[in-house]
């Protein structure tokens, strides 16, 4: 998939547009659900622009609608969003400086990060990050407001399989990275930890615990050719397993 994107920017843009479209449709139902739960329209509108992180907004709205305290809803939302901190540490220099870094940070989400990390070269990483981030910044609030105004046009996005699209998006963009030995160990371990702890822990915590899987990658390992293990660039030409 790397090689296709290297040569076809139109394809990358089309892929990002598809993701933004899916975000927009999901947002329609988010806005509709929020208003149907008794919130004034400005609540999903403000959340979608200022927080711009879908999972935490759904949780925030859901907890308060269920009678939870606003403080608990804020804390629950922040736990879900805590993964943005390691995302920011991992991102190459795609944000720029000064005011651009302020806006660029706000655009950080699962999709913009995964699109950036899936590219080769800083120029393409930067382009993918900003295109996806700005697209989501446009589609998520627009969808939320439209959904809140129109109501339950799309009653159940599950009916269109949208709920299967988002994990598929992440999976498709993460898979090529598994050519790297460290990640091939750490990723399944982390995913297993997250899945095993999901029944018992609050939303967002299992995903953070997945980081324990990284310890597997941190352990020094023996290899036949030490030169190729620490340099991801040298592993790129290899075919996927």
């Amino acid at each position: 998939m790397h090689s296709i994107w290297r040569t076809l920017d139109r394809v990358l843009l089309r892929d990002i547009a598809l993701v933004c479209l899916a975000v927009g449709v999901t947002s329609l139902s988010y806005g509709a659900i929020a208003v149907a739960s008794g919130f004034p329209l400005w609540v999903p509108a403000a959340l979608s622009v200022l927080v711009l992180a879908g999972a935490s907004e759904f949780l925030f709205v859901g907890l308060i609608a269920a009678g939870g305290s606003p403080i608990a809803a804020v804390l629950a939302g922040l736990v879900v969003n805590a993964r943005h901190l390691p995302f920011g540490l991992a991102l190459p220099d795609v944000l720029g400086r000064g005011r651009r870094r302020l806006l660029g940070s706000h655009l950080m989400n699962d999709e913009s990060v995964v699109f950036a990390l899936a590219q080769d070269g800083i120029a393409r990483q930067r382009a993918a990050y900003w295109a996806c981030g700005l697209g989501v910044l446009l589609c998520w609030p627009l969808g939320a407001v439209a959904g809140g105004l129109v109501g339950t046009v799309i009653d159940d996005t599950d009916l269109f399989g949208l709920d299967a699209m988002f994990p598929a998006i992440l999976l498709a963009l993460v898979l090529p990275a598994l050519r790297d030995r460290d990640k091939r160990l750490a990723v399944p371990a982390g995913a297993a930890i997250a899945l095993a702890t999901t029944p018992f822990l609050p939303a967002g915590v299992p995903v953070l615990l997945a980081l324990a899987g990284v310890a597997l990658a941190a352990v020094p390992h023996r290899t036949n050719d030490p030169d190729t293990t620490n340099d991801p660039e040298k592993e790129r030409p290899c075919p996927a397993p």
Binding site: R14, L89, L159, D163, P167, P206, L211, N230, A240
Partner: protein
């Protein structure tokens, strides 16, 4: 339902906290130069987090299992992605599989 002022304060708190979480990483990265090994571990961490998000959203709903349609859709997508199908095909196949199964009554 809490009052407007309480809601606005809660939204601002969530927004400010989320922004701080987003901004801290890039800020730190611009101040310190990480050794190559640490940089690679950071990237591995991000991939692990993204994969954990994918796994939990694919297979679980709340604190329980997600049923059959969604995991089946993501499984089809995973096989297609592994076979190097175009991204568009992979993602749409996930939706079509899950929606198709639901039409057939499999949830």
């Amino acid at each position: 339902m809490p009052g407007s002022l309480t809601l606005a304060a809660a939204i601002l708190a969530l927004a400010a906290g989320t922004f701080a979480l987003r901004f801290a990483g890039p800020l730190l990265r611009s101040r310190i130069t990480l050794p190559a090994r640490a940089e690679k571990l950071m990237e591995t961490s991000a991939i692990v987090l993204l994969a954990a998000v994918a796994a939990t959203t694919a297979l679980t709903e709340g604190h329980g299992p997600a049923g059959i349609a969604r995991p089946a859709g993501v499984l089809v997508a995973g096989v297609l992605a592994w076979r190097k199908a175009p991204f568009l095909v992979v993602v749409l196949a996930a939706a079509v599989t899950a929606a198709g199964l639901r039409l057939l009554g499999v949830t």
